[in-house]
Symmetry: none
Subunit: 215 residues, 4 copies
DNA sequence: TATGAATGAGCATTCATTCAT
DNA sequence: CATGAATGAATGCTCATTCAT
């Protein structure tokens, strides 16, 4: 078995152990390739107990997705201070995002890779979380436009596309930063922030965005 | 069966039929959920013939990935005219990319969703293709910097990260454009080009990148 | 849960509650399909308590069979007045039989359908009850023959067969009367009594048996 | 394995072997207690082949019911000569019925015990067969009444009840004759015919029905 | 070139039953 | 008197893969 067998634990604790094991297994093997046997084993319990508490493989997977989605959005929200300027908020959010995904690779794999590839119901769960992030970014873009004292002339659909592109780039970079050794969460965030805020054209004109000195 | 049964066809033709069926099935059901039965049926042949020609499910999946990866990179390359300025080349590449993925949703699903989620060997195949695109973009960035008559002061790793972010954003937008009705490949390309070249900051200062008029 | 949870009840009462729940569940789902979980739940107790009182699923099923068998034979016996003529006794017994089975469909299902279909030990229990009824009917036939002032010329084995046929017909009609709406216990008893006493031949000669007027 | 392994048989043959094994297993163990493993083993094939040919346990059971029901009704029909008088036809039908059930105890157990106890869909299958027999008997009763030159004064529902009782008695006696050693199909048929045609009352008056001498 | 016949191995799920309190 | 926590052992079903023709 994969864990020390602590017998007779309260239900809530056992459930978390099971979710831990499930996230790890789903993240590494994939939804279909992960077997309930392996998950139960890794959690240090028998299979029937997993079913007693979490009903089915589908329900277990959904529970994993929900837990990890909440953990990620909570982490991003907790990393952003509401009062500061929009670009600053974006920067903080990105840092929190890259930090969390780096620290929870299996959870991130479940959300980013597995949940989207195994049927509507699961994809819908991640989609909801993703929308939260997209909305958050969209608002920041709008606020930033207002702060720049310019016409908020960007049409709505355009803004949606930009937010989508930004979130997509972040998701992609998270995998890149995890794979490439020596890329810290901070570096990943800086790269993306630069790209998003200044654009390639500007950067090459020697006018990059630069992170606040104390970060 | 899914196709008219034409007996005794040359091997090359049969293989393409099988790959067509496989890409469609893998793209829609996922690697594990796709059964060899369904693929053989959809291809209009018996299962043993599939094995005779393509050896195993893994090999078949790999063959799908390779074919679709080649088709995508070929499409991008074919869409870019070598002589033109770097930003123009980038724009053309993005258009070709979004057009191809929109026209081959199953192939794109195989590459973007399935291949990365089912183990190292398959992920490595897509990774190779992705690298081709990243390298292509990286070169464009370097050339653009040179064309801007500036020091290539961007450190190499930084450039790699930018290219990565751009490709990631493109991949993400491909899914978005496919899902949202009414978003054309051209619109998606424009959104991303604007975002990448000018950056959010510039765009809000009223200095967006704008596509060449004749496109 | 299926019943109000009254804590701390005397054992005898709890046992009856469990048997009630078990008869209902076994009767409706069948022996194998009935789960101890469902029975315990319907009885409003925890599973270990069911095991504490009734030992095992087999024992529980046996207890159900015995209780229902006794209830049925008691009902038949109670419905028959000893002093009256044999055909009259048979008529009273049939009425009691059809009335009881109509009022206890789950119990009757346990005896007639479930107990006989799930292995020797259970079938033997019902067989014993059935024998009681067959013996009762056999005696009535013998007495009737004597009352008719005829030689008891019917050989013993023949009489046994007749009783068997009568009981079998009754069992079959019980299901029929329960299924067909509008067939009362009395009607079912009359149909069978007529059939058994007069026979088809006689009935068609216009000489049916007729029930006593006051019934 | 339970049978000699003859490899590579045509599908139709294998299917019959599987049905043979299934009828035997279902008849002896019951629907739920019978395992697909045991059936496959007894048929001398692997489980997947059983599923390939018969789809599911439910479908397999249904196939058994249909085959055995058809065999039984065919046997009864084949045993009855259309031209002869009604009581003679009934007698021939009963003989064929008892002979067939005695020769196919497992098939009879499937129909009489198992199919009726495991859910509506299965019960409906047997019900259909039973109805055929009931209709057959009902017609015989009507014809007999006409042949007796009497008013067909028996109301329709009454006749239905009589036919039901007769078939029920036959079913019950089939089990009895199978269980009691030394009771031949002919004896069982005679007992029932006597009971049904003459009635207990008549028999005790010394006026039994008697089988045609040549039988 | 092509296929009907066949299987070993694995997987999600359920259930009767017991232990510790 | 009563229960929450836990499991060993099946069971129905599917799938990738091969053999004989």
């Amino acid at each position: 078995m994969g864990a020390v067998k602590n017998k007779r634990m309260p239900r809530a604790v056992r459930e978390q152990q099971m979710l831990d094991a499930a996230v790890r297994t789903f993240g590494q093997r994939g939804y279909r390739a992960a077997s309930m046997d392996e998950i139960a084993d890794l959690a240090g319990v028998s299979k029937p107990l997993v079913y007693l508490y979490l009903n089915s493989k589908e329900d277990l997977f959904t529970a994993c997705i929900r837990r990890e989605a909440k953990a990620l959005t909570d982490a991003v929200r907790a990393g952003v201070r509401p009062g500061v300027p929009a670009d600053r908020q974006l920067w903080e959010g990105l840092r929190a995002f890259f930090t969390h995904t780096a620290e929870n690779p299996d959870g991130w794999a479940v959300l980013h890779l597995q949940a989207r590839t195994h049927g509507e119901p699961f994809a819908a769960e991640v989609f909801a979380m993703r929308e939260e992030l997209v909305v958050f970014v969209t608002q920041l873009i709008v606020v930033a436009a207002r702060e720049a004292h310019r016409d908020p002339s960007l049409p709505e659909r355009e803004v949606a596309g930009l937010a989508e592109a930004l979130v997509g780039a972040a998701e992609s970079l998270a995998a890149w930063a995890n794979a490439a050794p020596g890329i810290s969460a901070k570096q990943a965030a800086a790269t993306l922030m630069n790209f998003a805020w200044s654009g390639l054209g500007n950067m090459m004109e020697g006018r990059p965005w630069s992170p606040p000195p104390q970060d």
